[in-house]
Symmetry: C2
Subunit: 138 residues, 2 copies
């Protein structure tokens, strides 16, 4: 594709359960192998960010999610040891079902985020998502 | 840089004047050559989006701007005829001074956005910026 090199574009998805737990995956590969993180991944050319967020949540957890709103954009060049990856984070609501790990995830589960250490800057993303002006209601 | 190909990352900046006009540039090159648009451009690897927004506004208009908040993220694959370019749009406030065109801009001026036709999806970005919950005050 034409144009200069820019940071790579990712999405991460914050999906609270009705009990206030958060949909998390345990990473199957480096960086942060074995650590819990938000579902997410690289955006593909030709899809919107919202489509990427729905696709990544589905691929990694088996759940279908509906996007609620943008949480924020995280662009610190040092936030990802792989390189300069900018993440757009979305708040989403899960449709019925139990999470099942797939793709890059070794496990997928709704967990209390205060009980686990999250990879990357995902603790900040979760805090930002839950402190929004329009809290998620089911 | 390692990793898959993703859409390219841009910033656009909405800078209202105290009179409610918007800082616009007349494009010096294709696409949309000769048409008015928001200051903006491609994000460089190693800079945050906010840094890119300040840099692009300065390069194209000579003004120093302070970022107020994120307006939104625009990721429709068809929004830019050059390819799939995702724009993160920021609301910003200009420090003292008069705009002077430079870089990719043939002209730079504060204009009433309802009197000109803007390039890309910039009319939607301006509308979203001005309809925010926290209107910009000087």
């Amino acid at each position: 594709m034409a144009g200069p090199e820019t940071p790579k574009l990712m999405v991460d998805v914050v999906v609270p359960s009705q009990e206030g737990h958060i949909l998390l995956i345990r990473r199957a590969s480096d960086p942060y192998e074995g650590q819990w993180a938000l579902p997410g991944g690289f955006v593909e050319v030709g899809e919107t960010l919202e489509e990427a967020a729905v696709r990544e949540a589905g691929e990694e957890t088996g759940l279908t999610v509906d996007i609620v709103r943008l949480v924020g954009v995280y662009s610190d060049p040092d936030r990802d040891p792989r390189g300069h990856n900018v993440s757009c984070a979305y708040l989403a609501r899960a449709q019925e079902g139990e999470p099942e790990a797939a793709s890059d995830a070794a496990e997928a589960s709704f967990l209390d985020p205060s009980t686990v250490e999250l990879a990357f800057d995902h603790e900040k993303i979760v805090a930002d998502a839950l402190s929004g002006d329009a809290p998620l209601t089911y």
